[in-house]
């Protein structure tokens, strides 16, 4: 009977402990940011493996999400004779929600898991402690460039996803379903507001990029240095990132668009 309470307490303390370690880890990353700015090459290599290698995945997914939105939206809108609103529907759902959220989820799966596995393996093969022995701070040298690269790449990827999605919707809507081309763009321009929609979407993607890379590098750095530990840490990165993105998306949406 008391065993249950004991385990409950132990797991709660464990969660709090990890949260605390994650927070101090984040502070360490932020403190060592200036050292990365002195060595931009570290950042550029990481931008390549995090951003450029996710590029094709994001573009192709964005294209198909936009195309599906146009097909499904047309199906519903044509019941009301409002096919002209298709552009608005595609653009609004992409800019406000799907762009940042789907990019965040894909980013967690593509780049986040790779980050955790890489850092976890470095820890398992004692490369990180080797660096410490040579008086090189592994946080400044390994973690911070990756964190910063993720933070920069994510908004760029989300913007790309949204743009390609709008173009995909255009190909299907105007090309296949025969919606008026001028209407597609002009309705969109009259309804999508730069500050209200595009800027808020961008803020969302920055927040998601921050959270996903933070979780990814922390899980890697905090992993149990065995092959099983690294595999568990990688799984946790994807699962926790997905939870964090969806939860934060709800909170941010309620704050940004709640009064509209």
């Amino acid at each position: 009977m008391f065993d249950i309470f004991q385990r409950l307490g132990a797991s709660t303390l464990g969660i709090l402990e990890r949260l605390g370690r994650g927070a101090t880890f984040l502070i360490n990353i932020l403190i060592s940011l200036p050292t990365v700015l002195v060595r931009p090459r570290l950042l550029i290599t990481q931008m390549f493996s995090i951003g450029v290698l996710s590029f094709s995945l994001i573009v192709i997914s964005g294209l198909f999400v936009g195309m599906v939105l146009a097909l499904q939206g047309f199906y519903t809108l044509s019941d009301f004779g409002a096919e002209g609103m298709l552009g608005v529907m595609v653009a609004a759902s992409l800019v406000r929600e799907l762009g940042p959220v789907v990019t965040g989820l894909l980013f967690a799966g593509r780049a986040g898991s790779a980050l955790t596995a890489e850092i976890g393996l470095m820890k398992a093969t004692e490369q990180l402690s080797g660096m410490e022995m040579m008086a090189v701070d592994p946080v400044a040298r390994i973690i911070t460039p990756r964190f910063l690269a993720g933070l920069i790449s994510m908004p760029l990827l989300a913007t790309l996803f949204t743009s390609v999605g709008v173009l995909g919707g255009y190909f299907i809507g105007v090309g296949l379903l025969g919606i008026d081309e001028g209407g597609y763009w002009s309705q969109m321009q009259s309804k999508i507001d730069f500050h209200q929609d595009i800027m808020n979407g961008l803020i969302k993607s920055v927040v998601f990029g921050w959270v996903v890379t933070w979780i990814a590098v922390f899980e890697g750095y905090d992993a149990i240095p065995t092959s099983e530990g690294v595999s568990r840490a990688t799984t946790r990165t994807v699962v926790h990132s997905a939870f964090a993105i969806l939860l934060l998306d709800f909170i941010l949406t309620a704050l940004m668009f709640g009064d509209v």
Binding site: R41, F48, V52, V95, W185, Q189, S190, F194, I198
Partner: protein, 154 residues
């Protein structure tokens, strides 16, 4: 640490295309291209009923958008809605006795403020109020009146 030149080029390409996408979103998808840089001037008008008029709804004269609704307030003394509109400064020569009405774009479309010019020599300027206004048509009231009148005929 040496990194190959192609990595740098790829990263540069990635960042550049990200900015192109941002430019595309702001110019082609959003209303940024239609917002003029100049702030314009504010005029107000009181309506008995604004219907479902929203902030940022267009203000049109002769079907052309000349400004936006910037605020909708309630005046507790006259029990009327006070609509503040920002008119683009290039349309500064509107007669002061212009009248404002709340219209609907299409049958079920969104509501906007339509201005019609008057004949006065004096012009509307920052802070002036439009005297002649016509409230929004409330569909339920019209249907109610229609049913009532057709009942009375029988």
């Amino acid at each position: 640490m040496r990194i190959s030149r192609s990595i740098e080029i790829w990263v540069g390409f990635f960042v550049a295309i990200g900015f192109v996408a941002m430019f595309f979103l702001s110019m082609q998808v959003s209303n940024l291209s239609s917002i003029s840089g100049e702030p314009g001037y504010d005029i107000t008008a009181s309506f008995e009923n604004v219907g479902s008029l929203k902030v940022r709804a267009p203000v049109a004269m002769a079907g052309v958008d000349i400004g936006r609704v910037t605020a909708i307030d309630f005046d507790p003394k006259s029990f009327e809605a006070v609509v503040t509109m920002s008119i683009e400064s290039k349309y500064s020569e509107l007669p002061s006795d212009s009248n404002a009405s709340i219209l609907t774009a299409g049958l079920l479309g969104e509501q906007y403020v339509g201005l019609e010019p008057g004949g006065e020599e004096e012009l509307l300027e920052d802070g002036s109020e439009i005297e002649m206004t016509q409230s929004a048509l409330v569909l339920e009231k019209i249907i109610g009146q229609f049913l009532f009148s057709s009942d009375a005929e029988e």
